[in-house]
Symmetry: C2
Subunit: 377 residues, 2 copies
């Protein structure tokens, strides 16, 4: 079942609102994820984000299915930006990562994108390390990421072969390509961050890092320009290093509770995984919805779950059971259930989730400090 989540706001560069996922299919060759959903379902039940069309597109996902069927090892590459609080906008990605690790046996390469974070946010080393370990990695572990088959590293503190890859890549990419994918007025720090991102995605294929020839990169819909450039780079080093193109999947963004993008820069837009549960509950109760001007009108016309941040919280995070979610959708759409009632359901689920999650955080932070090697200077 792909739920009717027909219209989402995404805002990749912090400004514009884009609704045209179709462009990705039409012009850039991304395929609808539903094409591979049935094949995946033969192996394991697809994650709810996949069942519900939130993971909506892919490139070369067949490679992953093939590797799994043949019992070949494959790797997931993902990154975290150690800046701000981890919120439910970030959680979607790690939910998928955990799915691949636990259900399909993927090895996870998790890069702490401190080069990127510094280029964008200018945080100190101490802040970068603190956000990375105590905020992000700890939350990942508490969500269920296993330390087995997991490689975590800071972009600025990894093995020399990773840097050799960065240097080799720098030789076969032009400034024009860089600015096309990463924006005009690109500065040296951003160039290093961009080359690092390419190395993040492609390095697991090297023998010295395990030689994983099937690599999947799950990303948000805004990341495709970087993936396209990385695929080109893989082609350019196909003969020299035996690199192959990575597979990728694309997910929609969750809408912030204030109707904009869910973003660390606006606390009213997000629920953080470390928000006190009661405060998180209050945020939900104050959220924008797809409701009508009056209760009477809403009973008559029905609500609009397709533009409702609370419905998205249900669909992306809070309701595991598809039939239960469908009931919320139809009860809203038909006008049977009003926003207050729906918010109370969301609040109750959220509070319960956060209490349980946060009870694991202290231990998760200890483990995070043990397994992540911190840059010395």
């Amino acid at each position: 079942m792909v739920l009717p989540i027909v219209e989402f706001r995404i805002d990749p560069w912090g400004a514009e609102v884009i609704r045209e996922y179709d462009k990705l299919f039409k012009y850039f060759g991304i395929r609808p994820f539903k094409e591979v959903l049935n094949e995946l379902a033969k192996i394991t039940e697809p994650h709810l984000l996949m069942r519900r069309g939130i993971v909506f597109g892919h490139r070369d996902f067949e490679k992953v299915l093939e590797a799994v069927k043949k019992g070949e090892r494959f790797a997931i590459v993902t990154g975290l930006m150690p800046s701000g609080k981890m919120h439910f906008g970030h959680k979607m990605l790690i939910d998928q990562i955990i799915f691949y690790q636990q259900k399909l046996g993927a090895r996870i390469f998790l890069t702490i994108a401190d080069a990127e974070a510094y280029a964008v946010r200018r945080l100190s080393r101490k802040e970068l390390v603190d956000y990375a370990i105590n905020e992000f990695v700890a939350n990942y572990l508490a969500l269920g990421l296993r330390t087995k088959d997991l490689t975590i590293y800071f972009q600025t503190n990894y093995r020399k072969e990773y840097y050799r890859l960065i240097q080799l890549f720098s030789r076969k990419v032009t400034m024009a390509e860089m600015t096309a994918a990463y924006g005009e007025n690109i500065e040296p720090g951003k160039i290093i961050a961009s080359l690092s991102q390419m190395a993040d995605i492609l390095h697991p294929q090297l023998e010295v890092f395990g030689g994983y020839k099937t690599v999947l990169v799950p990303v948000g819909a805004d990341q495709d320009p970087h993936l396209r450039l990385t695929r080109d780079i893989a082609d350019r080093f196909s003969a020299e290093l035996g690199l192959e193109r990575p597979a990728s999947t694309y997910h929609r963004f969750i809408t912030g509770l204030d109707g904009g993008k869910m973003s660390s820069s606006r606390p009213e837009s997000y629920v953080a995984l470390t928000d006190p549960p009661e405060e998180a509950g209050r945020k939900i109760m104050r959220s924008l919805t797809g409701g009508r001007a009056t209760a009477e009108e809403q009973r008559r016309l029905g609500g609009r779950p397709e533009v409702c941040p609370v419905y998205e919280m249900h669909a992306y995070h809070l309701i595991q059971d598809d039939r239960e979610l469908e009931k919320i959708y139809t009860d809203c759409k038909s006008g049977r259930m009003l926003c207050g009632e729906c918010k109370l359901i969301a609040k109750e689920r959220l509070v319960k989730f956060l209490e349980e999650h946060q009870s694991k955080l202290d231990r998760a932070r200890e483990v995070a400090r043990e397994i992540v090697e911190v840059p010395e200077f």
Copy 2:
């Protein structure tokens, strides 16, 4: 004694001929090396390149003198570009390095600038490794560079802290500064090479690389823009990493035997350290000189050693004894000695030098292969 070597051609970017070393003194704060020559002479006899004014300028050389007097450790950073043959234009630099290692107890950090070489020449990994080891490092060792207190590394195959430094530097430098120092139309490969060069110069100061606070970089006169930018970078990381500005010295370029720059790209311009001695001798005999149109005219007006590539070979390389060199200079200047005779002296010295040097090369190549760690891919 600073010999009258008053006019030299340098051609830093492969095209223009510049004679205005004075500009470096006037506008960029480089000090005349003769100002520190006497102080150096109190410690050890200055190298002939210093005595003869070929090393003509410096920044902060007092720091080096002070470190030596106090018995503090200091380091020399130098690089080689693994491309083409090592010739007498390259030898001047390594002669200085060996002087600092043997006479003043410097630790030598020798970077194989393969990132730079690739950016400029597009050589394969195999070629880069071959040039680096069999052509350059082997010749350095045969010239007398000791393996004790020597660190040699490929820019693409060094320790991770070196790359962390590159990443940190990239954060505090702008594209405008890069293009000012390294040229317009700078591409990603060149940016990485440039950041690597900064890390080459500054990394010995880090604790993990020995914590050398006095670092000297002997370079050709064209390299000052890079030194100036590197000094700025050191300032910017003074608080964060405790970096200090490097000292530097500047040498004149030797003129090619054809009157242009001595360059690997024109075999008739150079004598390589691996040229068969007899062939090298023939090159000297065919060289341009500062001679006059006819023997009669030369006897009457005297030769012009100040614009003579053969005289430069004497002054830079072949004649160790200053008085002997002075005699050649005055005999030429007065018209007592004509070019044929002078060339024969040069040829004889050169053949003898090359025979002796090349007899050490096989063993030097073995040692080079032992001490240089080669990139795996």
